[in-house]
Subunit: 359 residues, 2 copies
């Protein structure tokens, strides 16, 4: 088992990564200090891993809330549902919430933990690759608003993250690929060696080889933890973790969060960012082709879905959270392994990039 | 003008107190660093002070949201309304929200600022005595849930508080008295000298004498700022600021937040806390009588409203935020000017106290 510490002073916490993390009864109980525990999960994950977790909860009174699967679960309505459940069952400020699921469950549960009585503890047990390498680490929690993704949320850190590589064996192929988009992202923005390792080993990772998987999650979490420790509230360098996300969110919004997985949108968005970087002479076409090739091998989409038009993407980009005083900053690439935050792009190059990716 | 600094490291901020704070155009503009400003106020305050604020906003593009007056405005629905307004008008992460109103507007606006895009700036312009001496200072933000007050919220600090004593001239008498409950609280929990000053000068304060008022607000904010600086997230000493609040919230919940003002409930709750302290031999009857006398002179209610029964109060107390691992801690008095946080009270004494205050 690997342990990565996210170094955030009095809010620091460990990420446990390994083949049998969830079978380690002591580990789970060590991280729960309260007598009231609410497990929040979804209808897909519950039949697979809920009993396993419950069995390991030594005599701790706990309740379970099972929500529907899918991005639309990340709503203010479901936040209210969780809060209602907590109040009805008389949960107090010392309770602990456990998020058992992917990014949707983690983001929603984390935000509920941030808000309930102005903040209670929570533990992340991510069950998707995307959640293990990205959303469970770093404390970004949120729900969606019909007009924009992650518009209502908080920076709120978990007290522990338990990532078991075994749970990825049941993950559908498309979801696994979606997680790889964020993995590839870490290589692209700050870890050229890891990127090159992925170029050599992507098929091995996709075969879910346990050693390759542990290394993949460990490198991803280490990269993320380093960035988050340096800039928790995203006033600077943390924004580079959003490579591909501004384009990706625009696509997701245009699709009303339906049809594509978040990671798929991010994958396509990263290629768009690489393409725009090329049009601005920041990188050469060869590097764009390398990105495209790796995304294709990871079985990620590389075109915007049919039916979406230029105006949709441009309009949706305007409310992006990286916009400062009306100027939209984008994360672009100076090289494989080197990201830059910039507003120095022409509207013409941006439009050309978007048009290039429209079906 | 008096300036009190709330010392919270990188989240520190000033409280400006004085007779003409809102006429000081420079002061307001100095504290706004963004080009997008949303003023949130209510239908009672807007006709009185909105134009005044707008006039002082030097060429800054701004919008206004006017909400209904009253505690029921502090809802998740209105949070959603604010967020929708912000997204529709394409407000970005660098925007500033201004809370112009009492505690309800301040708590709701503060929570919206805490949540929107995971946190934007906000300025408090409190227009009630209660907001000036209590709710605008210290970063407690929240909305209510039908099953409990302030159940959904965040610790989120404003970037400045502007308290103009002139605005209190339009405050109805009952609301002024409600504010005095929190003022008296500071004396009771940690400032015997201030309490004795109030015993001498309460009628002068109630006549809204400007000097007496400035001193009252200054002492209250200084006391609160000191406690908050020591314990921002209420893991210890900050809980003493809740003297009377556990009883008070129980009354408010039993009334569905209707009929009584928050400060009125706190006033009655403080007397109940004093009474319970006496039954536990922490203070003598003479001190309880002094508390009762001061509350009566401040025109605050000293009995639980008719129709509420013992069971209502006891049940509502169970979900109090000060409950830890199922044990409800109460703030009691060891003396005038000295509070204690304790779970060492008997159910019998608690029941006797509640019964003593039922009509």
């Amino acid at each position: 088992m690997k342990i990565i510490e996210v170094d955030l002073g009095d809010r620091k916490y460990p990420i446990y990564i390994g083949e049998s993390v969830l079978s380690d009864k002591k580990l789970l109980n060590k991280n729960i200090t309260s007598s009231q525990v609410l497990i929040i999960t979804n209808e897909n994950v519950a039949p697979l891993y809920l009993k396993h977790i419950e069995k390991n909860l030594d005599n701790i009174k706990h309740d379970v809330l099972i929500l529907p699967d899918g991005e639309s679960t990340k709503s203010l309505e479901n936040l209210n549902l969780i809060i209602t459940c907590l109040i009805e069952k008389k949960y107090n400020r010392t309770c602990t919430l456990i998020a058992l699921g992917g990014g949707v469950i983690g983001d929603l549960t984390g935000f509920a933990a941030a808000c309930y009585q102005r903040g209670v503890k929570f533990i992340q047990i991510p069950t998707t690759l995307l959640a293990q390498v990205d959303s469970s680490v770093g404390g970004k929690t949120a729900v969606n608003h019909p007009l924009g993704k992650n518009m209502i949320g908080a920076f709120y850190q978990p007290c522990a993250v338990l990532s078991d590589t075994n749970v990825l064996s049941t993950l559908p192929e498309r979801e696994f690929s979606a997680g790889l988009a964020e993995v590839i992202k870490y290589g692209l923005i700050r870890d050229r060696k890891f990127y090159e390792w992925l170029e050599k080993n992507i098929e091995l990772v996709m075969s879910r080889d346990s050693r390759a998987l542990t290394y993949t999650i460990e490198r991803s979490c280490t990269n993320k933890a380093e960035v988050v420790a340096e800039d928790e509230k995203e006033s600077g360098i943390r924004a580079t973790l959003n490579l591909g996300h501004t384009f990706g969110h625009s696509i997701e919004t245009a699709l009303s969060y339906k049809g594509w997985l978040h990671g798929e949108a991010v994958g396509c968005g990263m290629l768009m960012a690489a393409d725009l970087s090329m049009r601005l002479d920041l990188i050469d076409q060869g590097r764009v082709d390398r990105v495209k090739a790796l995304l294709e091998r990871a079985k990620l989409p590389i075109k915007i879905p049919r039916g979406i038009i230029l105006k949709d993407i441009l309009e949706n980009m305007k409310v992006d959270k990286k916009s400062r005083n009306g100027i939209l900053y984008l994360i672009l690439l100076n090289d494989i392994g080197k990201a830059t935050i910039t507003a120095d792009y022409t509207q013409r190059a941006l439009t050309e990039t978007i048009n290039h990716f429209l079906e």
